[in-house]
């Protein structure tokens, strides 16, 4: 598939295609050969202990981390190809970060319009129309002139999701989107993500929200030690895990404070 730049021509409509992905930081090998195909409209949740490489995996998909080896093909374009226009490729992927990363120098509308205007060359009016539609989608229309510092964590994260949506991405990448939130604010963000999934958005979600994964995911990946230990439907991976490591992890996450066997 190397060198292919045509969009949407992949076999059986695979949107994200990772082949034998490795990533090392110095002598620390974080990813040890990951193969993953995400179909259009599929919601894949990635769970695993901290330090297992799941965030690194997600960041390799849009090349925020450059893989040490292996290929990443997104929507038919091999973005690990050195000749790939990475800025163009990234437009097709929306990314939501654990720390929201809203631009602190811009208000909400500014956050949502800067990329459409400066990258896609949209007019201000056009960009603001799209921005308002996406703000409504996350239920924050009344906050368009607020600055990030004036919003709660949950509101910031919903704005961040709206910001990613303004670029009309083919796939959304969520990197622990609720991990930095107060517990009572998690629900609103998960609701937005749930409705995105229902609209058929292709989603790759690194999360600690096992319940969310169980309800929303088409497929759950359990990653540990830089490899996919187990994958399958939520019923299988969360409901009846085959691997010892998966069982131990789920026991720790679902029943914190209890001793694991």
């Amino acid at each position: 598939m190397s060198g292919s730049t045509a969009r949407g021509t992949g076999t059986d409509d695979v949107v994200v295609d990772l082949t034998d992905l490795h990533k090392s930081f110095g002598s620390n090998e974080v990813l040890r050969g990951i193969d993953l195909r995400v179909r259009r409209g599929e919601v894949v949740c990635i769970i695993g202990p901290s330090g297992s490489g799941k965030s690194t995996l997600l960041r390799c998909v849009n090349l925020l981390e450059v893989p040490s080896s292996g290929t990443v093909v997104v929507d038919g374009a091999e973005i690990t190809d050195p000749d790939c226009e990475i800025d163009d490729a990234r437009r097709t992927m929306g990314m939501v970060f654990q720390q929201f990363n809203l631009f602190t120098n811009l208000d909400v509308l500014g956050n949502l319009t800067i990329a459409p205007r400066r990258v896609l060359g949209r007019s201000r009016a056009e960009a603001e129309t799209t921005a308002r539609a996406n703000l409504a989608r996350v239920g924050l229309s009344e906050k368009e002139h607020a600055f990030p510092a004036q919003l709660s964590g949950g509101q910031q994260q919903r704005v961040a999701i709206a910001r990613a949506l303004t670029m009309e991405p083919t796939v959304m990448l969520f990197d622990e989107p609720t991990s930095a939130l107060d517990p009572e604010l998690v629900g609103d963000v998960l609701d937005v993500m749930r409705s995105l999934a229902e609209e058929g958005m292709t989603m790759l979600v690194v999360t600690h929200e096992i319940q969310f994964a169980r309800e929303v995911a088409d497929r759950v990946l359990f990653i540990d030690g830089g490899v996919i230990v187990e994958q399958g439907t939520p019923e299988k991976v969360i409901g009846a895990p085959e691997q010892e490591r998966t069982r131990n992890f789920l026991a720790r996450v679902l029943h914190p404070g209890q001793k694991t066997a």
């Binding site: 990234r90 992927m93 720390q99 809203l102 602190t104 120098n105 811009l106 990258v119 510092a149």
Partner: protein, 268 residues
């Protein structure tokens, strides 16, 4: 000692006041006020300084400083980006530049530019150009470090968010990083502008016609002319007319681009 905490505080403050009053009295009683008055406050001499001190000297100081600062800012920004570059040679060149020019007295740089450049290139360097260049070089070495620190203080997540939206490194720098860094570097930049205002007095080293005198030199020539220290007082006040509003403006801007990350007039 059976003093309460409040009594001790009061006693401490009393001692401090007493020392302050003693020092003031000592100075006031030992100084020759009649001579000071004659030397510094000769109204006739003061009046004779006008309008020249304003229309020539103050104006030239502002022009030299403003031009020098513009050059320093542009050069400093480029140097800061070079120091942060992934290209090793850029980092080395910018690092050497900063270490070299930051370590030299401004006086040497003014002389080197004013006399060295015409010698080296066989050209005549306009005095305004020479002082602008010299001040620009002096200022840029400091500004480069200030701006570099400001850019580095912008959280990495801001850059990642911009890049993940498909913004190029340049757009990310221009629309996201620099506006945020600007807020952080505003106070040290004001400091640099005030320092340059004073360094512009080094223009006297390049020789001069009356029309080209800035404040310090204007004061010095008046000093010789009148045998009075009053011109020093007049030009001193003129410096403060520049620098105090600058400090005030900086505080205003700082408040406007508030610490909470809410620039009120932010234009996108």
């Amino acid at each position: 000692m059976a003093l309460t905490r409040r009594q001790r505080a009061r006693l401490g403050r009393g001692v401090q006041y007493a020392i302050a009053v003693a020092v003031v009295l000592l100075v006031a009683l030992t100084a020759d006020w009649a001579t000071i008055g004659r030397a510094f406050f000769d109204l006739e001499v003061a009046a004779s300084q006008f309008p020249g001190v304003i229309v020539i000297a103050l104006r030239n100081t502002i022009v030299f400083t403003a031009l020098g600062f513009v050059v320093a800012l542009a050069l400093g920004l480029v140097l800061a980006l070079m120091r942060l570059s992934s290209v090793r040679i850029y980092r080395l060149v910018a690092g050497a530049y900063v270490e070299f020019f930051r370590g030299l007295p401004a006086l040497l740089i003014v002389i080197a530019i004013g006399f060295g450049v015409p010698l080296a290139f066989g050209t005549i360097l306009d005095r305004t150009v020479a002082i602008t260049l010299a001040l620009g070089i002096v200022g840029s070495a400091y500004i480069a470090e200030t701006v570099r620190a400001g850019i580095q203080s912008v959280p990495r997540g801001q850059v990642e968010a911009a890049r993940s939206l498909g913004m190029s490194p340049l757009r990310t720098m221009v629309f996201i990083v620099i506006p945020q860094a600007f807020r952080i570097v505003l106070p040290p930049l004001t400091n640099e502008l005030i320092l340059l205002t004073k360094d512009s007095s080094l223009a006297f080293l390049l020789g001069t016609t009356l029309e080209q005198q800035e404040l310090a030199q204007f004061g010095r020539s008046a000093l010789n002319q009148f045998r009075s220290l009053t011109p020093i007082l007049v030009v001193g006040l003129c410096y403060l007319i520049i620098t105090i509003p600058l400090s005030y403006l900086a505080r205003r801007l700082e408040r406007k681009y508030g610490s909470a990350g809410m620039p009120k007039g932010a234009e996108v």
